[in-house]
Subunit: 129 residues, 2 copies
Amino acid sequence: MNIGEAARRTGLPAKTIRYYEEIGLVTPDRAANGYRDFGDAAVHKLEFVSHARMLGFGIGDCRDLLALWEDNNRASADVRAIAKTHLAEISSKIRSLMAMQATLRALVDECAGDGRPDCPILSQLGRKD
Amino acid sequence: MNIGEAARRTGLPAKTIRYYEEIGLVTPDRAANGYRDFGDAAVHKLEFVSHARMLGFGIGDCRDLLALWEDNNRASADVRAIAKTHLAEISSKIRSLMAMQATLRALVDECAGDGRPDCPILSQLGRKD
DNA sequence: CCTTGACCTTCTGGTGACTGGAACCTTTAT
DNA sequence: ATAAAGGTTCCAGTCACCAGAAGGTCAAGG
């Protein structure tokens, strides 16, 4: 099938699929006219990568997970290790975002938000340490 | 003062300060030898930007907040609006990360993580929709 | 006076994961 | 024959920097 149909089936933009080919995540066949020709296996791989990306895995992790997925002699421990590392990164990002959120929310709550110039948000940002 | 001292005072890497000059966030004087010469006001501006960046504001927001900070006729409503928009983006990111976290945590908990190939993580990633 | 080392300068190129657009070719339908 | 809808490649841009190269400047010590 052509790239458009593969895009429809996977939900990935065609541009993204071309990019995935460029970096070697998938290697679709080529038809005589030069068009990419995706088989079911290629589409399935794209779906796999799409799902992994939705869970926030980076391209490097996707590559590793894909290799594991295709290796019938894999150890689930290897998969789990990648996932756990990623989970830790997610948790760390959440913590950092929640800290920002708490600080910012307090500041926004304090701010009158009217026509006057006094603003605790700016005061806080401009404080000298 | 030279860029090194400005970096020490603000905690920003010198490279970052040069970048901030390049994009017009700060415009330090130049000494006769071509070195950047930061006055207290310039350092204070850098501190302001540094704080805003720590709260996750993008460079565009920093530019706007900086302009508001320096405008004595500002309305705090304008500052508050920027902050509220940014808060909404933070909340959205947190929600999205927490969804990933929940899914991934459940998968990791289900996975034996041993030498066998069976792995619910890979099964889930490879599921056809 | 010379050297050493720390500091400064600019410039180029890379990061992650795409996205947009231009210029062009192929297929399908009218 | 033509027009629309698809496909192709390649170049450039995004964001907020960071790494490194090649070279200029300055203060201190021999």
